[in-house]
Amino acid sequence: MKLAYWPGCVSRGFTPELHGSMALSAEALGIELVTLDRANCCGAGVIAEHNQELADTLNARTFALAQETGLSMMNICSTCQGAQSECQERLDADSAYRSHINDTLSGEGLAYTKDKDGFTNKNFLWLLVEDYGLDKLAEKVKRPLEGLRVGPFYGCYVLRPKTRLGYDEFPDRDLYLEQVIEVLGGQVVDYDGARRCCGFPVITMNKETSLRQAGTHVGDAIDAGADCLVTPCPLCHLNLDMQQPEAAKVVGRDLGLAVLHLPQLVGLALGFDPKQLGMPKHIASTIAVEDRVSALA
């Protein structure tokens, strides 16, 4: 399997362990990634808030770069998925608009083409279940994560709005994390926060609202017996992990729960060492998870 790969900004910024663990896991899974190193930020919904055409053109540029490779595109960030799907919806809705956008891109010799079957841009989570296949993933598992209790945390941008995010065709996209956790041998922890918001988009605007959300979900997962959370979104990771000590102050309780990126959880089951997967870079200690995993090996 070969894919055009958009790593996003945060995976090469404040969560470098995500980009690194994706590279390792992809190789072990036999997925070849062609990085779109000329591509630009998706705008995270913020650029669209400022100027829709600007966001749409920037993402049309990324899609066009992916289309030049002749491959389907994969991202590793729920927020990229949501922001890019929003722009793609507008680009695909209107040919006059698309021509206008492509006219802007022509200076670089690029054009976004609306495919008959639709241009495919999938988060690693969707790709793993829908294209790679859970059976094939199960075959690759070298170290089943037996006894590891994992709370799923999706991120809003791969959940809602359902009409935009392909739920008509793939209605179980809001259950894929549970499916993946089980295939990797882990135990799913049900708790209230799995499909709620991490609060990150308002961290600079209303810190208390933002951290109350993150702190509540982490606390709920701890109360439900989780050893860790897993998320396909690095922005959720920033609020749930990097801000966890601050979130603990806002909700007034001790937290201290490891938050893994999806490729890290996959990587653990593929047999990689937690250090290789960058887990010591996390703010919330991953030692409990590391101990549990090394006891399995």
Partner: protein, 386 residues
């Protein structure tokens, strides 16, 4: 006819039995056609099993907005959800291999419960709704007859006009769960309905008011819950984004949450670097022009200082050890001529600023709808035929 089990969250404030103190769950078996609604199921249970089961309803046709509830966790109207669909969704979420599952019905969230499925709309929804002055405030003397405006100028408010005040979006709002003072999706969508109305004379004042309430338009966390909850396609979050665009970009209002500063810092960051320079974003969100021009607000300085402990932790673990991640502005640009092409996109798009309105042309709709350039409209002097 099919059999369904409704698992209802109940609260009977007058009950004297020990097992009915506080909220409790009760299941009701009903038998109805799968195409009939969850509301029909609840009314059958009330009629046949327990007359004390309280549910608010009236039109049964998704018009009056009375029967807002949560079904399988999703805020919606009980009359607009079919029993068959609800049972399938319950089984899907239960992940029990397509077996039978109970349809879970709860009162709406973010509001006090009066009895069973009846919530107190007054203390939250209507109070927040009145907060945004939900009526027209025209300037100048009224015209002799009706106000006449061009049909195109009403296009952008059409979506928010469709609201039936059911409160499903308020019930689903994830920001309001964390901040009960948040004005919320229903009221803000209604605010846009008047801000965007060419007959209203208080546009700037309305925007200023909502931008300077710390629980106003910048308290929305982009979770899209209200979009999925709304039974009428109002997409309240989209209206909140329109309010932000109008306030910060078109009316130049500096809001109390630093929301517009954050937006502009982000926009400029990508123009300069192509991908996000997080350290620069943080600095410029809180304190634009810290190197010279503008005096940052006290709240901005506090925000910037407040992020220092997080940064120190990041440096310790190695998350932020490399220089480009730590020093604002050192982050590399896109390779080769790519950055120049991104700048070209900015020049063109900031000039034309086209807003495609999918509510009007249809989502994922058909081809060849002309892209409309939306400009601030004014009241037309000339009568036009719509």
């Amino acid at each position: 006819m099919s059999a369904y089990t409704l698992k209802v969250r109940r609260y009977q404030p007058e009950a004297e039995e020990d097992d009915k103190r506080g909220a409790y769950w009760e299941t009701f078996d009903v038998e109805l056609d799968p195409t009939l609604s969850v509301l029909d199921g609840l009314l059958q249970a009330k009629n046949d099993k327990d007359g004390t089961l309280a549910v608010r309803c009236s039109c049964r046709a998704a018009i009056c907005g009375s029967c807002g509830v949560k079904i399988n966790g999703q805020s919606t109207l009980a009359c607009k959800t079919q029993l068959g669909e609800a049972a399938e969704e319950a089984a899907r979420m239960a992940r029990n291999g397509g077996g039978e599952a109970e349809i879970v019905v709860e009162p709406m969230g973010n509001m006090p419960v009066i009895k069973d499925l009846v919530t107190d709309m007054e203390s939250t929804h209507w109070t927040k709704f009145r907060r945004v002055t939900p009526w027209l405030l025209p300037s100048g003397p009224p015209p002799e007859r009706e106000y006449i405006v061009p049909a195109e100028s009403m296009v952008d408010v059409t979506q928010s006009v469709a609201c039936i005040q059911c409160g499903a979006c308020v019930s689903s709002c994830l920001s309001m769960e964390a901040d009960p003072d948040f004005i919320g999706p229903a009221a803000l969508a209604k605010a846009y309905r008047f801000v965007g109305d060419p007959r209203d004379g208080q546009t700037t004042e309305r925007l200023y008011d909502l931008a300077n309430d710390p629980h106003g338009m910048y308290d929305c966390t982009h979770c899209f819950s209200c979009i999925d909850a709304c039974p009428k396609g109002v997409a309240p979050m989209n209206q909140i984004m329109r309010l932000r665009r109008l306030a910060g970009d078109d009316h130049g209002i500096r809001d109390v949450n630093n929301g517009h500063n954050h937006e502009m810092a982000f926009v400029k960051n990508i123009k300069k670097k192509g991908t996000l320079d997080e350290s620069l974003l943080l600095q410029e969100s809180y304190a634009p022009g810290v190197k010279g021009k503008l005096m940052p607000r006290v709240s901005a300085i506090k925000g910037l200082l407040g992020s220092i402990p997080t940064a120190i932790r990041g440096i310790k673990t190695g998350k932020m050890r490399s220089v480009p991640k730590l020093i604002p502005g050192v982050h590399h640009k896109l390779p080769g001529d790519a950055q120049g092409h991104v700048e070209e996109i900015y020049e063109r798009a900031e000039e034309s600023k086209i807003q495609l309105n999918l509510y009007i042309i249809g989502e994922g709709g058909e081809e060849d709808h002309a892209a409309e350039e939306v400009e601030p409209e004014s009241v037309s002097e000339e009568p036009t035929t719509a």
